[in-house]
């Protein structure tokens, strides 16, 4: 369990370090180092979980079970690779004078702060702390969204702040109701501890929990970016610095979904009905379809991919809503591959935008001719995110489709429609970007594409074969969530 | 013995073909009360052509010079499988009526290529039209073949004729339709009036003649002969499939000679009909040929349907 504390302490220390030390030439490097160390810590934690199974800290403050352990490792991993990407990226931003030292200091401090809140969200066992950490994540990132101080970025940050704040407030109301329900069954102390609640979920008052879940779903759903609560998402993703977009898409959304699913488990236990599932399916499907449609109208490349994030989160929410073992497994897998792929894409997109000096897609052309590595990276990443095998996204979408065919066949055509539309929406924009002749004045830049290769490699690996321990975690989590093994 | 007979019959086919052409010409002249050339005029023409020195364009490739042989031998092959005076030939096992159609299209393919080979306007025009008409004629022909084979339940010509023969005189509506459609197809395929005018040169409506405009000498002879052979083939098909009576079933000499006389008689009659129609009708515009042929197709279809509906097989 020490590992868990370590995982939390390192980013805390990092935040303090950056806040106090101010920006230095090697801040980027330090950021990388901190994340690397933390990755090691999380790996250690993972090893512990592998050895001893679910860990519950003294005082039950922290809980690490198969459901969140892989998310923790994923968080550390994406955090590290993004840090690797961000070091040269941010240097370049500073060189072209979009940023100054003060902001870079803020950036690095807040980067660690964000990581801290992410780890807290994942490790905590207390639903109240979960809420606090979620809000904390918003607070940590809101200033990064407006880092460039352009009118757009400030507008985006403001919307992000207000919408998420209001949304999260609703989540707090849901949490209070949860607490109330817990108190009814007289577990006064640690009545907000998830593990306790989960044990006697059966005794909780279903009426209360139903209403609580509505608030929780809407609250955390705002952070997931469920339509129609999604409006902050594309703005925040497109206006903030690209590394921020990468971690927002790759981690924040996942963790919000994680929070919802944790609560859903309680609600299902209490109500013994699919109400929660149906709500999630409805939201998920809506987000999926609308997100797919939005893809067609984009002009800004980062906006494009943030909408694709909405679409994918919609699919995950939908899958969790279906709730069978197959769908749950698929959703867990999809969380992983999506955050890997999407952060990789944002890395390439960031480079592409730097190389073209703009984010508007009409002006980015002929990437493959200009800088093959970036062009191919973007193209392959898009292929992966569009759900083509042998990449992992295909595996999860395949399983989702089959699960839908099993339980709700009449929804399958909608899903199919959405996938088709989303695919067309992505490629109609990406093809002209990567292909064709290079426009004059578009020069190659110094880019670090290792993160992209590693991520895509992992996604490829997950598509071809899921390693044993991960499969075990997935199936255990599946049992935890849906109550039965996938096939 | 049978093989020998088959070879003889094929030779007979080849030999008789010009005679039929001559006879048709003769009838036409008579009907248009002109002075007729002798029946054997076509033989003389062919002989003369074979003696002449063929002149070939500089642009001509090997396609042009080999096509006549290909076309002619394709026709001879076709002749070898169509029963003229006797059924159950050994050769007819080599190819059935569908292959027969195949032979025709083989010949047509090379004829059309030869037309295009020189690169004159006329040649291309002829080939294009020839291919058009044939592509319309083939479905119609197949339809009538269907109508026939559905009742005879074989595509092997000998067996089909044998079947009709043994059935005796049965009035099948399908056969009537098939007969007429086959006649129309034959007219189109052999390039007679009203589809094409064999007696014309350098006319903008010509089809067959346009393709062979560049040919001379023995090449021309072969092609002419092949087309006469084709005419005879269609005639024999019509005569022997629909009115097989008289054809020899045994290989006794008298039955064979009887069969020969019978088929000559039938052909003479058919040729007379053809000549009559050619005197009565005028050549039609190229783009009315499609109506002509779709009518043939319709007839074939009706034949097939009437076989299913009226003759209530099973």
């Amino acid at each position: 369990m020490i590992a868990a504390y370590l995982v939390l302490l390192i980013p805390l220390a990092g935040m303090a370090f950056f806040a106090l030390a101010g920006h230095r030439a090697d801040s980027g490097l330090w950021n990388i180092r901190l994340n690397a160390v933390n990755l090691l810590a999380t790996l250690w934690l993972a090893v512990n979980v592998l050895r001893e199974g679910t860990l519950l800290s003294a005082g039950k403050a922290f809980l690490v079970d198969p459901f969140n352990v892989y998310l923790i490792v994923l968080t550390a991993f994406v955090g590290l690779t993004t840090a690797i990407f961000s070091a040269p990226y941010m240097e370049h931003e500073k060189d072209i004078g979009r940023l100054n030292d003060a902001r870079l200091k803020l950036y690095h401090a807040m980067y660690q702060g964000f990581m801290l809140s992410m780890y807290l969200v994942l490790t905590t066992n207390n639903m109240g702390i979960l809420w606090v950490a979620m809000e904390g994540a918003t607070l940590a990132t809101v200033l990064l969204v407006s880092l460039y101080r352009t009118p757009e970025s400030i507008e985006a940050a403001w919307k992000y702040f207000i919408l998420c704040g209001v949304g999260i407030a609703q989540a707090l109301f849901g949490t209070i109701l949860l607490y109330y329900a817990a108190e009814q069954i007289g577990s006064e102390e640690n009545a907000l501890l998830w593990s306790v609640l989960y044990e006697n979920a059966g005794k909780l008052n279903p009426e209360v929990l139903k209403i609580a879940f509505v608030f929780l779903l809407i609250g955390y759903g705002t952070k997931i970016g469920l339509v129609p609560l999604h409006n902050w998402l594309p703005d925040a993703h497109s206006e903030g610095p690209t590394p921020m977009s990468a971690v927002l898409s790759g981690l924040l959304l996942n963790d919000a979904l994680y929070a919802v699913v944790r609560n859903k488990m309680l609600v299902d236990g209490a109500t013994r009905s699919d109400t929660a599932g149906f709500l999630m399916m409805g939201f998920g499907l809506l987000s999926f379809l609308v997100g797919a449609l939005f893809l067609h109208r984009q002009k800004d490349i980062k906006r494009l991919f943030s909408y694709s994030s909405i679409e994918h989160m919609g699919m995950m929410t939908f899958a969790f809503g279906i709730g069978g073992p197959l769908a749950t497994f698929a959703a867990l897998l999809h969380m992983t591959v999506h955050s890997l792929t999407k952060s990789a894409i944002f890395v390439t997109v960031g480079h592409a935008a730097q190389l073209a000096g703009t984010q508007s897609m009409e002006k980015i052309r002929g990437l493959i001719k200009t800088q093959p590595a970036i062009g191919w990276g973007l193209l392959i990443g898009t292929v992966a995110i569009a759900g083509f095998p042998p990449f992992g996204v295909f595996t999860s979408e395949f399983l989702v489709l089959l699960a839908v065919m099993r339980s709700y066949p009449w929804l399958a055509p909608l899903l199919l429609l959405g996938i088709g539309i989303a695919f067309a929406g992505l490629f109609r924009h990406i093809q002209p970007i990567v292909y064709g002749d290079r426009p004059e004045g578009q020069q190659p830049i110094k880019a670090n594409l290792w993160p992209v290769m590693i991520h895509l490699g992992l996604v490829l690996w997950l598509g071809l074969a899921i390693p044993g321990f991960l499969a075990d975690w997935f199936s255990q989590a599946t049992i935890l969530i849906s109550g039965s093994v996938p096939l | 013995m049978n093989w020998l007979l088959a070879a003889l019959q094929t030779a007979l086919f080849v030999a008789l073909a010009p005679l039929l052409a001559g006879w048709i010409k003769w009838c036409k002249c008579r009907l248009q009360n002109r002075k007729a050339p002798s029946l054997f005029q076509p033989y003389r023409d062919l002989l003369k052509l074979t003696r002449k020195q063929p002149v070939v364009s500089h642009q001509a490739s090997w396609i042009f010079t080999t096509s006549p042989y290909i076309i002619f031998s394709a026709m001879v092959l076709a002749a070898s499988i169509v029963p003229l005076i006797a059924v159950d030939l050994p050769t007819s096992a080599n190819a059935d009526v569908i292959v027969l159609i195949g032979f025709f299209s083989f010949a047509r393919f090379f004829l059309a290529l030869a037309g295009l080979d020189i690169g004159t306007a006329f040649g291309g025009m002829g080939s294009s039209r020839e291919m058009t008409i044939s592509s319309l004629a083939e479905p119609a022909m197949l339809m009538s073949v269907f109508a026939l084979t559905m009742s005879a339940s074989t595509t092997n010509l000998s067996f089909a004729i044998g079947h009709v023969l043994h059935e005796g005189l049965v009035l099948r509506p399908s056969f009537i339709f098939a007969l007429f459609s086959l006649m129309l197809v034959a007219i189109a395929e052999t390039g007679r009036i009203p589809v094409d005018n064999p007696a014309t040169h350098l006319e903008l409506t010509m089809i067959h003649e346009a393709m062979i405009l560049e040919y001379s000498g023995r090449h021309l002879a072969l092609i002419e002969w092949a087309s006469q052979l084709k005419l005879l083939l269609y005639g024999v098909l019509i005569a022997n499939i629909f009115f097989p009576w008289g054809i020899a079933e045994t290989l006794a000499f008298e039955s064979l000679s009887y069969g020969l006389l019978a088929v000559i008689g039938k052909l003479a009659l058919l040729a007379l009909l053809l000549a009559l129609s050619e005197t009565l009708f005028a050549k039609m515009r190229l783009f009315r040929v499609q109506e002509f042929l779709s009518f043939a197709y319709l007839l074939g279809l009706l034949g097939m349907l009437s076989h299913i509906i009226l003759e209530g097989a099973r």
Binding site: G136, A169, L177, L192, I211 | -
Partner: protein, 225 residues
């Protein structure tokens, strides 16, 4: 049951609840910033009072702490900060013309009804009388959102946001006698940070669109212009 049979403290809390509800109505109808902030402060005060009373009547000591937190944050710090900002940016004079105010008011009233109707099943399940006030807290939340929807001033949005928080605290008090301490502290901390960030953002917005009218923040949209 009849309120007459309840003990004094409960009566007090219920009436305070009524007053809290009233304050959110007042805010909803308020076009002048400074008054808005003032009413917000009053609401905070009422909330603090409620908490204190609850703490005393049920003698739950840690509720005193949250009462104190509320007093400091919601009554003193945040209103003072907002007021100062308003004065600095000298927007304290301009009055926001609220469209179809009465309709909004009626909507607010029906919201109260709605929240009662929603929470009815819960209220039925328990014997705690204070729970009746839960409906009020929910409606305070909803009214806070309505406030944000109906006002165009960024400051008003902050006030609405904070009053939503008030509603939450109120709910926590009446339903569950406050959250666990750690959560209380965390929430308070978040609120503080949020307030500070709001302060920062006012200046950014002001510099970028030299106004605090959020309707002018509409650069990022999907509607083809």
């Amino acid at each position: 049951m009849n309120i007459g049979q309840l003990d004094f403290y409960t009566q007090a809390i219920l009436s305070l609840a009524a007053l809290v509800g009233l304050t959110s109505f007042l805010m909803l109808g308020q076009g002048r910033l400074l008054r808005l902030v003032f009413v917000f402060a009053v609401q905070g005060l009422l909330l603090a009072l409620t908490t204190a009373v609850a703490a005393y009547s049920l003698n739950i000591p840690h509720l005193y702490i949250s009462a104190a937190l509320t007093l400091i944050l919601k009554v003193i710090v945040i209103p003072w900060m907002l007021r100062r900002l308003a004065l600095q940016m000298n927007i304290h004079r301009d009055v926001e013309a609220l469209k179809n105010n009465t309709a909004v008011m009626l909507g607010g009233a029906s919201l109260m009804l709605f929240s009662y109707y929603i929470l009815h099943p819960i209220v039925q399940t328990s014997s705690i009388v204070m729970l009746n006030a839960l409906a009020v807290s929910l409606s305070v939340m909803l009214l806070g959102m309505l406030l944000m929807i109906s006002h165009r001033q960024a400051v008003a949005h902050v006030v609405g946001f904070m009053s939503i928080e008030n509603g939450l605290f109120f709910a926590a008090v009446v339903a569950t006698h406050g959250m666990p301490m750690v959560v209380e502290l965390g929430v308070a901390f978040d609120v503080l940070i949020a307030a500070v960030l709001f302060g920062i953002f006012f200046f950014h917005i002001r510099t970028s669109i030299d106004s605090l009218d959020v309707d002018l923040l509409n650069r990022l949209s999907e509607v083809d212009k």
